[in-house]
Subunit: 191 residues, 2 copies
């Protein structure tokens, strides 16, 4: 079973006909570790659904240091919404940390989809709303948890991320230094 189809079946109730119609708008590709999905300075012209694999989503701060914005583990959607929907120059980059199975929805096909039928417009609205809710819930969770708790949960829930991202990426993602994350790992060496 295709990862994309499976994802939509579990998250939204669609008829087989609608499901097929929707999935046909995506292009399935397999890409190797190191592939750049989108990059600082360009316009992001697609939404990516990651079937399998891990992505590093980052940008550079004023001091020129890489800052990890997110570490994605499939199945999940990934794009830069601001660049994609408003055709702005993107300030972030996104790179595959493992070989990935991607399903690509080009901007032109997306636009046709959401402008022709209220069903698909509401469908897109739903996905964006769910993304927003997930983010808000994450923020809520973060505010009550120590870096150590968050690292241990990442290890438990997303072992692929911990395996494939460097300690520096993860430290930046958790909002701490490489050294502090190392102390945490040493303390929890048994876990």
């Amino acid at each position: 079973m295709d990862a994309l189809q499976l994802f939509f079946e579990e998250s939204h109730q669609l008829s087989q006909r609608d499901l097929g119609y929707l999935v046909d708008h995506f292009e399935k590709v397999s890409v190797p570790k190191g592939t750049v999905l989108f990059e600082q300075g360009a316009i992001v012209d697609a939404v990516y659904f990651v079937g399998e694999g891990v992505l590093h989503h980052y940008n550079y701060n004023e001091e020129g240091q890489k800052v990890t914005l997110d570490l994605h583990e499939g199945p999940c959607f990934c794009t830069n919404l601001e660049s994609f929907s408003e055709r702005k120059i993107c300030q972030d980059s996104c790179v595959a940390l493992t070989d990935c199975t991607l399903y690509i929805l080009q901007k032109a096909k997306y636009d046709t989809l959401v402008n022709t039928n209220v069903k698909w417009s509401n469908f897109a609205k739903d996905i964006i709303a769910k993304t927003l809710m997930k983010m808000l819930n994450q923020l809520k969770a973060v505010s009550n948890k120590s870096i150590e708790q968050r690292y241990l949960e990442l290890l438990k829930n997303n072992p692929l991320i911990v395996q494939n991202a460097s300690i520096a990426m993860i430290a930046s993602y958790l909002g701490t230094s490489r050294e502090t994350l190392h102390r945490i790992r040493r303390r929890n060496i048994l876990v």
Copy 2:
């Protein structure tokens, strides 16, 4: 000029006819300081647009302490999206810290709007997408800034929030302790 109308005119290009049609779905009310917009345990059945005023959006963590999720200053939208769109029991509360001018869009009217016409569905999608982008940009900003920088920016950009929220609310909002925020204020007494 109505705050709601002004907001839509600046953020979206709509015909006068569409603008009027849209605004007619909202009910304008003035409420005093202390008014509860929505509350833990209930289902949020409206979207609120705050014309003028300041809101405290919070919940309780496992230890039973109030945690500030957000401090809103009008003009802005406010609701609990998860409760509103999926009719779930809300875990947060939202209370007016000042007298407020509110524009209320009931769930039933919202549903009619987004289900009848692809224009309004895309309009709602846009607002949700903008909210998500704003949140992502805030997160990006936060990761590079100290609590002190963030407090000083809040003071500069949202003086009404600093004036009307307690030091404890703001400390929780910034993710630090009351004492630390106090040290920051003492250091920057001249600002």
